[in-house]
């Protein structure tokens, strides 16, 4: 799924400009790091892609869909093709690991048998099968992050959005999460990941989009990040 930002500005009321005149194009199958300091606009950029927010000016197009013009009834169908891993995991606290992951398929009316198979498959991919009956509060931050990744993988999305997926993790767990993300990307899925972790960006040399105070200051293929 390709992404296009054309002259995108986002102003939060009353007058906080989170993004200013962003123009960029991300091709299908790319792996992109969105880097920058805290408050630079990384999360805002990702939230525009998931259509949690709409641009104040400009156009965001994903997979040929102008997100502003998208009908509200179509938003869930669009999101089923976008795997999202949020900084705060966004897991449903009352559901177990298994139920959290199964939910995204159940919401699409996938038959129970297929849901069971697919859920088992993605939980195994993130190595949490033994924790499947636990609730998010009973898991560590790293485990919750892996559950969020498994959930995002469940629908086999064409686009994977990860907002600081390693932000709360130790080096070893972060490396494991990155391994999963690279595997997803290797399968042809577009991955857009925000981070301010220099070692992660510098160890894999992917495309780097750098933001500063809401403005795009660098877009470099095989780039690095010095913070």
């Amino acid at each position: 799924m390709d992404i296009n930002f054309s002259g995108v500005t986002k102003v939060f009321e009353p007058d906080i400009t989170a993004l200013y005149d962003i123009n960029l194009n991300i091709e299908q199958g790319e792996f992109v790091y969105v880097v920058g300091q805290t408050g630079s606009g990384k999360s805002t950029l990702l939230r525009l892609i998931t259509r949690e927010i709409l641009p104040s000016m400009g156009v965001v197009t994903v997979g040929g869909n102008n997100l502003r013009k998208m009908r509200r009834a179509d938003v869930p169908y669009y999101r089923r093709d976008v795997g999202l891993v949020a900084q705060d995991f966004k897991l449903i606290p009352s559901l177990t690991v298994y139920e959290n992951i199964a939910f995204v398929m159940e919401a699409m009316s996938v038959p129970k048998k297929i849901v069971a198979e697919r859920t088992k498959d993605v939980i195994n991919q993130v190595g949490l099968w033994r924790r499947r009956a636990m609730r998010p509060a009973q898991l560590s931050g790293g485990e919750q992050q892996r559950v969020a990744i498994a959930r995002a993988l469940a629908n086999s999305p064409s686009l994977f959005i990860a907002d600081e997926p390693t932000g709360n993790l130790d080096f070893h767990t972060a490396a494991e999460v990155m391994k999963i993300l690279f595997a997803i990307n290797a399968a042809g899925v577009t991955v857009v990941m925000s981070t301010h972790n220099q070692s992660i960006v510098n160890s894999s040399r992917q495309r780097v989009i750098e933001l500063e105070n809401g403005a795009l200051i660098r877009d470099e293929k095989g780039g690095s990040y010095s913070g």
Binding site: P76, R79, V104, A107, S109
Partner: protein, 298 residues
Amino acid sequence: MTTLKYILRDMWRLLVHHWVLGLLTLITAGVMLWILGITTLFSLNLENLLSRLESELIVQAYLVKDNTLDIDAIAQKIQSLDYVYAMKIYSPSDSLAKLQEKMGSQSRALEMLGDNPIPYNFEIHVHRAEDVEPLVEELNAMPEVDDVVYAGMVVRRISALSRISSRVALIMFVLSVIITALVVYNTIHISLYSRREEIGIMYLVGATRAYIATPFVLEGTLLSLLGAVIAAAGIMVAYFPGITLIQSNLPFLNSSLLTDRNVILRFCALLAGFGATLGWVCSYLVVARFINSITRPE
């Protein structure tokens, strides 16, 4: 079918995971619907009592003393008046016999009158107390009618009481419905608010608004229905002992009270249906509004 199973399962999850709020909704709906039911039954009994009193109101019309009068034609004329419900004709001799019967041992006094002074007269029944005054006006306007006798003050009082009781019953009913609706609406709103994070996440991972909303609406409807069933059971338990108590202390009210078990059962079934409908409408409104606001992009 698969979706329905998931939705029913999710509704069950909501009930189990948030059982305290569910119980709160159930109890509140039950209590409010019980009050609504009892209020309605009280109003119905009051209406019954007043309507019995009204049906017992009699207007007596005395004709002028004239042997040439065509009594049948006058009877037809009176019968055709709008407010007449039932009518009985008394000839002078019938009236005298009736009067003698009423006076008992003192009826000899009537012999002193010589000729029977009572003219032909009509005993007229009306539907409602408020019909009496216009009927009296019409009767007085008839040249064949010499005098009209009725309990003017009683009629006015019953008429006023009937009007007030109808209004009070309507106001009480509307107020009870509004309060019940508000309570159900608010408890479901609290329940939704406590789950707003979950709802936001569900929408974010691709659940449609209908898929998210349906378990909540079903939950609200089910809780209201259960509340109404509890209220109906409470009415059955409280109403009949209450009626028995009234009957034993105020026996003259017996024929005015609703005592038919089948009628009360039907009323309770109606209350349960009403509770479920009210729960469904309130849940639908609050869920639609809430999900609409939470899923609106900034």
